[in-house]
Homo-oligomer: 383 residues x 2
């Protein structure tokens, strides 16, 4: 019997209830059943983001949500500052460049977090900057940014604060209104425990002002059209929505709200602490320092002499545990253990145990059981 334990930072395991919810009979996307579905989903997403703003949902993966924000919030030639602290910051910068913005970047050492002072300085040195883009949770390095502090560094009223929260939404706390975030981009396939294929964008009134003034360059991503349809008495989307994924998302959101968002965030923090304690227990070291460690994904430095590909392949083939390798400049140098969404202490124990066995199998001396023991300490300390 082959059983897989999927511990990549996304797509994440979908709860059976949410997966089966997606198999419900198809409905008319212009009818009342769909209107109720869409309204419930966007209402719940607004509660997750603690916002009174408008949440839009598109059939697309997260990268599509980034591109949608780029073309709706920035006209060609608009200046934007992007904090690049890993692969996903780099991707957002590329999207902005390709769609015509004038991009300047703050390059942050991979594995560390964005320094608000650097943002402040960059904004002071270039008054033409119209927007700041930050990755909330940099999946390529396992680092979470301090959005509230970054917001305080953006002192100018005319600058939009755009946040990629694809890998944090529903797993790491984000208070959109309180933290003054103008646009939050999310995806269905991580903390929201839904199959990939939905991108969501939550916009502040200030963001809408800008959308209204931005050159229209896309029909598919048109936020103005989307808002008009969403706000009909029976909510709709301008073009055909991904109905089955919305069914699944509704179910996953109900689960998250029933667990309680605070509890969900606490569970993720605990899993992250357990993974970090676990890998340290067998002499490995997380890439990110404790004070900015992500609670959804842990990047772990590979010791000399351990080949990333062999380790990942042994884990998958021998033990059914699927984790991720490094991206970009970290390729071959780290492994990344996802612990996001529909994940509990059980999967963490299984993953750590598999890592112990795989390392031993690859000829490395491992204090067998030590990583699990260290994780147990964390689990037993809760409550």
């Amino acid at each position: 019997m082959e059983r897989q334990c999927l511990m990549i930072p996304g797509p994440t395991p979908v709860p059976v209830g949410a997966a089966l919810a997606g198999a419900q009979p198809m409905i008319n996307h212009r009818g009342p059943e769909f209107g109720a579905l869409l309204s419930e989903v966007t209402g719940s997403l607004a509660r997750v983001l603690v916002t009174h703003g408008t949440v839009l949902v598109f059939p697309a993966s997260g990268t599509g949500g980034m591109e949608a924000s780029a073309v709706n919030l920035l006209s060609p030639g608009d200046k934007v500052l992007v904090a690049v602290a890993g692969e996903f910051g780099s991707r957002f910068a590329e999207i902005l460049r390709v769609t015509g913005a004038q991009v300047s970047t703050i390059e942050v050492e991979w594995g560390t977090r964005v320094d608000p002072a650097a943002i402040r300085a960059a904004l002071e040195s270039d008054p033409a900057i119209r927007a700041v883009v930050v990755t909330h949770n940099e999946t390529s390095t396992g680092v979470t940014m301090d959005l509230a502090s970054i917001r305080r560094a953006i002192v100018r009223e005319d600058v939009l604060f755009i946040v990629d929260a694809i890998s944090s939404m529903g797993a790491i706390q984000l208070h959109q209104d309180e933290w003054g975030i103008d646009a939050v981009v999310g995806g269905s396939q991580k903390g929201l425990m839904t199959p990939p294929g939905l991108a969501m964008i939550s916009l502040s009134p200030k963001a809408w002002d800008k959308v209204e003034r931005t050159t229209r360059r896309s029909v598919y991503w048109d936020f103005m059209a989307a808002r008009k349809f969403f706000e009909r008495p029976t909510a709709q989307t301008p073009y055909t929505p991904a109905v089955s994924l919305l069914y699944s998302l509704r179910e996953s959101l109900r689960m998250l709200e029933s667990e309680g968002l605070e509890n969900v965030y606490r569970r993720h923090r605990m899993l992250a602490r357990a993974v970090r304690a676990g890998v340290r227990g067998i002499g490995l070291e997380p890439l990110a320092p404790d004070d900015c460690a992500s609670s959804t994904v842990t990047a772990v430095k590979l010791p000399d002499g351990v080949d990333a590909k062999s380790l990942l392949s042994t884990l998958r083939k021998e033990y059914g545990v699927v984790i991720a390798g490094g991206q970009g400049s970290l390729s071959g140098r780290i492994i990344r253990i996802g612990h996001v969404g529909n994940v509990s202490w059980q999967e963490v124990v299984v993953s750590l145990s598999a890592i112990e066995m795989a390392l031993a199998k690859l000829g490395r001396s491992v204090d067998r059981g030590a990583s699990v023991a260290a994780a147990e300490e964390v689990f037993m300390a809760r409550g």
Copy 2:
């Protein structure tokens, strides 16, 4: 007990097997299981389109596929000719305009088909035109275009032939290579019997030549990047794919190939004939003439004194039959009965019977049973 009979032209009913296939456990989109899934799906789509070209799949609905084609196949300022024979031709023209092409249109009376001679004349009068865009099956009017004849009218070698086959793919025959089509855009939610959220684009070598020379304006829709990832030893997508929808699509494609594509197309033609005979049996008239009637959707003219909204709402609330109204200039003047995808003679009989009852309920005199009788004639004549 409320049972719904979904007879809109899309999204269409998903076979239970395909719906449940989407609920399979999530997998790593960079792993071998996903590679096998993607390769099977694109291979099968190429067989459906009878092409040796490359088929790409994106997480998006059909409109996203149109926009993807627009930004990859046309640089800003490129001249394109669009045949507008209804709402969807009009949408493609809008997308092309908004994404920067210079668009000229051939306006075709709604309910009739594109005249190849008009395409030929337009191309002759403007040698700068670089592409011709045609909607294969115009869902807003129930008309199918004669692509092979249109192709013969495009005599110039330097002109791309781009076809929106969103509402025909898998339901109406389309021979991409034989008919010389350079780009075919499809969607998952109609003939392919899969939930909405996947757009597919099939490209000829000539289309790829143009893609390589087109100004890069999108990261999400980047065909060059997509091809590079699709062609890896283990097929991948550049960004997170809609895994669960691909599971469903694989299952639906297996069903279509197991029924036999010729049989599938024949079934759709039979259903269309039955619907047309049925509505005529109670004195109604299809919008489109027989010689260009769509085999996936039938637009039916409403007789004077019958209110479209009341009819649709009675059908839905009293009889659970969901059909569509008119779009654009046909709003309030027609109803549209979808008969596409996972649909058999049974749903046609149910729909016709419900229409008889609903018309009677709205005070119209109806020769009860006459539409069903006329449809039965068609069903019994087969084989």
